[in-house]
Symmetry: C2
Subunit: 195 residues, 2 copies
Amino acid sequence: MARPIQFERDNVLEKAMQAFWAHGYCATSIADLVEATQLKPGSLYAAFKSKEGLFLAALDYYGEQGATRIGQALAAADSPLAGIRGYFQQLARDSADAQAMRSCFLVNTALELAGHNEIVREHINRHFDTVEGHFLRALQAAQASGELAANKDPRALAVFLMNSIWGLRVLGVTAPDPQRSQAVLQQILTLLDEC
Amino acid sequence: MARPIQFERDNVLEKAMQAFWAHGYCATSIADLVEATQLKPGSLYAAFKSKEGLFLAALDYYGEQGATRIGQALAAADSPLAGIRGYFQQLARDSADAQAMRSCFLVNTALELAGHNEIVREHINRHFDTVEGHFLRALQAAQASGELAANKDPRALAVFLMNSIWGLRVLGVTAPDPQRSQAVLQQILTLLDEC
DNA sequence: TCTATTATTGAATGAACGTTCTATAATTCT
DNA sequence: AGAATTATAGAACGTTCATTCAATAATAGA
């Protein structure tokens, strides 16, 4: 009974996410988003209500994709600990890439907005909790199978791994350098070994 | 031969720093800075050239203060490792404070601007390097005195400690919680012990 | 005391901001 | 085919932005 929507929502969210990720919430103007998504202001506001609405949608799009990817990578690994080691090896490589110089969209947003905006904080925490949950289950499985020492605390290790991700993201933006990333990686992995 | 400057530079920088720290570079307007510093736009521009100039001055003011404070805390401790442990205990307490919900000004800035602005990146790295230098010297001293195991790598540990600071700052903004902060702290301190 | 110099003031500037609105295009149901 | 409905386009809105400027106030040397 009416004209159907022309654009694909995921495509628009992907483009908007890239723009927000690259420049942050405040520094990304509606004009930037119009250019990135190829939608006119009217269409953007009809679909997402406001700049903040579009931002939250893009944030969730990023968060869900990321968490899913991590979950799949862990599930596909030869063993729980091998999955975690593999993930951090890749992360260390990413954070050493001087071309990228780009943190995680969630971490950027956490520091730009989470301190003041409770809604944003909730969205971010939800995604972080999902990832932490993946790590926790992997660590518990590793302990059950004897791959992780019995005297380790999976919960504490899971929080620590999240902490390490956040740190490596900052390192990747300020001083991307393979040697430094590898040094950090070694310390992190040491904590997963017997000691 | 001319009218002398009325304001104290450090006082203005302190106020400007608080404003930038609380809201970020982009979200802090000149009007905000005028109110915070009690200087009119003309005076701000005469003294600091531009918004960016004032920001960099405030960033350095923060960085130098912070690095000095850490250096003094480490020097005043009973032993090198005791100094490091004490610093991280305090940091873990800070990041568990739900009232504050505020990261480190340098970390905030790193994620907001360092990816695009090379000058900002250089300023930030200079301050981070100073702090890392303090940690490195403490770790080397600890190793020399036998307090730190001989098989440890002070350089790698120093980078890892910086990484842990950054992580705890993110934790403090998104989900301040004593239990989680303590869990992370325990893992970090474990790496300083024999194992 | 007068002159030169510089700090301070706050209004003025044009550009860019997020958002809204009206006209138009496209579609479905009757 | 016509009527009803909704997406799209892009100009227009008032506001706020960073910055500049002309007028004024305050000081130091002559």
